[in-house]
Amino acid sequence: MTALTGTRRLVRLVLRRDRIRLGIWVLGTPLLGYALAGSVAGIYPDEAARQGYAATSASSLVARAFNGPIAGTDLGAVVVAETYVTLALIVALLSTFAVTRHTRQNEETGRAELLGASVVGRYAPLTAALLVVVAANVLAAALLMLALAAAGLPLAGSVAAAGAVGGVGVAFTGVASVTAQLSVTSRGANALAAAVVGLSFVLRAAGDVLGDTSADGTRVQSAWPSWLSPLGWGNQVRAFGGERWWVLALPVVLLLAGVALAYALAERRDQGAGLVVPRPRPATGASWLLSPAGLAWRMQRGTLLGWAVGVAVLGLSMGVAGDEFNAMIDENPAAAEAINAMGGGSNLVDAYLAAMLGLFALTIGAYVVQALLRVRGDEADGVLEAALATAVSRTRWLGTQVLAATLGAVALLLLAGLTTGLGYGLVTGDPLGQAIELGGAALLRLPALLVVAGVVTALFGLVPRWSVVLSWTALLVFLLLGQLGAVLDLPQAALNLSPYTHVPSVPAVDPVVLPLVVLAGVAAALLATGVAAFRHRDVPS
């Protein structure tokens, strides 16, 4: 079939371009699964602990919404409840991005035109991308299966659980192959596919919340909305709880349907065109847009809105979960201890809430990095050159970006605190008071985020070419120090490297001012370094 001519070569091209990404994906997900399974086994070592976990998970609506329906009291079932949703979301997004990267992105950049003019069939680029992404999912699932079995879980359940995770990747490969045909931009294609992931999450959560609990209270039978969600299918496989193997066929059916639709769409559209018709844009710039600050807002607002929705949903859920937490702690002292180690202090609910705010601060750190690295993206694209050739100083340009990212971080932190407080207050009876208290507590994390902003700015000024990699690495190190530092018994000197170590864990402990002032000072020094270095270097670099 001539429409597929050149597929083999394109597969090699995809493998060559993505050899590192694919390697991290295929090896990383099984490793993550192995590590998570190990830690879960440590926290719930015996039948009694798991009985308690399963009972809480089945009765807690928040646990159902975020962890899916518990399938029993086996260790495997607990591992699945604790890890499946995370792993499934990861492979869903990885698969989506990979498909878009090798289809729509090539069309957007014009690379596909170059390829299309050579001896390459119409379906070859899409087929090559699909082959590689499906193969990566299958391989990652196979390794995950081995990892789970190696962690001591029964073989049949391991196969089912790994198949469930791989199935999610396969299903969203099908989804992404369609969204790549619809949108003209790779960003748009990814956003559409990510919206399907989000919808799947909501449907699954709804179906699991609405589901029935079994007579012994340790299993949940999901309601019908879960069956509409590719993320839900993985739960319906019931790994470690009487496997239903036929469910694993559903993702394959979705993949085949998606690919068939994608081929049909590809046949009917022009190269580079989409099916979502672009609307006309404003012919003139609104007056608010025409300044560095206006531009920064315009560039950030979509991202910020997405973050705000995510933070608000998570905050409310975490807050509501705070009350259920009291019950869970009574039944599982080991879990309580783990939370206590993260949050600190004597009151366990406060420790829990403090731990959640800490997690929000880390997550919002990713927003700060993402927002600030736009400057580097602009520099690499050449847009920065056009902007700096106007009467805008480098200090003003970079300062505006830092300010925009900081204001975004303040808004998100405040939102995280307010929604967590609101959620907790709604179930315990003081929504306004809790919202205000936790909103304030969340804002105390700001100095740590300022340090993150300072690190990114300094890297951008000093080593622009490395700033993207190094900024994310720094954030990852902060994350690991925060999450694993206590578990791994790292020396305090190592922990002190992370700014998050120094923010007081309010509301679990009382606020102290000195570390916040020191952090702000460090942030100011880093920012000044970054701006000074940027003023003295070549652009573009």
Binding site: R281, P282, V392, P540
Partner: protein
């Protein structure tokens, strides 16, 4: 006082010496052609003039100020069109024009709208959907709708069709009429010939030639084809005569303009029947400078000249 004056400018990128003692002088009110092969350092020079790159050594003054230290102040007085325009993908063309204009300190609404019409650019499309030519138009419209003293244009018309090229030339004449100075880097020789008062040719980071086009022509040999009654002899001994060849009974040769008299004196003795003398075309001029730089070129339409140029 010259609008742009560069003396002995040096810029290195690691081991690469991009500018190696470059000189450039652009006088007020002139359109100055800035020419040189790809990679010869034109864009690097322009970026130094814009304060985007830092010079390693040498002097550079723009409108009497230091382009690095006084960048912002200077940028209010100049407009820039890059050779490869990249824009904010999610802004519309109109928004990008207004933004660039406003960041520079304001643009003239009326001339913006006129320019949009003249360049036939749809401002309601997202920048990501523009072709190269249309992105170029966005930058050109943004630059020309500001009234400034200096326009720095780095291959501004790459990607424009001939119709738009003509519109562009009209606009350059208009701003020149208004008293502005233009530094125009270009590979379109017809454009240079039509617009430029003076040109500077650079190669490997150095200025190799600078002057009016007429002056440059004088530095380059004229091609002479002569038909005589008797075979011509003794040409090789004449000063300034090169590349003497016999083709179909006619003599082809190259002569330095300064030695034209001696050549004619010699030719007359052999009974001249026909004589054509062709001054160097701009293309020959450039091929000579762009090529490997030895003085054997200036052969019209000959394969050798083309090969030299392609090198």
């Amino acid at each position: 006082m010259p609008v742009i004056s560069i003396d002995n400018l040096v810029k290195t990128f690691g081991a690469v010496r991009a500018l190696d003692g470059l000189d450039l002088r652009v006088e007020a009110g002139e359109v100055h052609g800035f020419l040189g092969p790809n990679g010869s350092g034109k864009s690097t020079t322009i970026r130094i003039l814009l304060g985007l790159l830092r010079r390693d050594s040498g002097e550079a003054r723009v409108l009497g100020a230091d382009p690095w230290r006084d960048a912002v102040r200077l940028h209010r007085r100049l407009a820039y069109v890059p050779g490869d325009v990249s824009l904010w993908p999610n802004l519309s063309g109109g928004e990008a024009i207004d933004l660039l204009g406003e960041l520079r300190g304001g643009l003239d609404r009326q001339s913006r709208d006129e320019l949009l019409q003249r360049f036939d650019l749809d401002p309601t499309r997202a920048c990501r959907t523009y072709s190269k030519g249309n992105r170029q138009k966005v930058a050109i419209v943004a630059a020309f709708s500001s009234t400034v003293e200096l326009y720095v244009l780095d291959e501004p018309t790459s990607g424009l069709d001939p119709l738009m090229e003509a519109v562009f030339q009209d606009e350059v004449r208009r701003i020149k009429q208004a008293g502005a100075t233009v530094l125009l880097s270009s590979h379109v020789l017809a454009e240079v010939e039509a617009l430029c008062d003076r040109v500077s040719i650079i190669r490997e980071g150095r200025t190799v030639e600078s002057g009016t086009l007429a002056e440059l022509r004088h530095l380059t040999r004229t091609t002479v084809i002569v038909e005589t009654a008797r075979p011509v002899t003794g040409l090789d001994a004449l000063p300034g005569v090169h590349d003497v060849r016999q083709v179909d009974g006619r003599t082809h040769l190259e002569v330095d303009p300064a030695h034209f008299d001696e050549l004619l004196g010699q030719l007359i003795r052999f009974g001249v029947r026909a004589l054509t003398s062709t001054p160097p075309t701009l293309e020959q001029l450039f091929l000579r400078h762009y090529g490997d730089g030895n003085a054997t070129t200036a052969q019209p339409q000959s394969t050798e000249a083309q090969r030299t140029g392609a090198r």
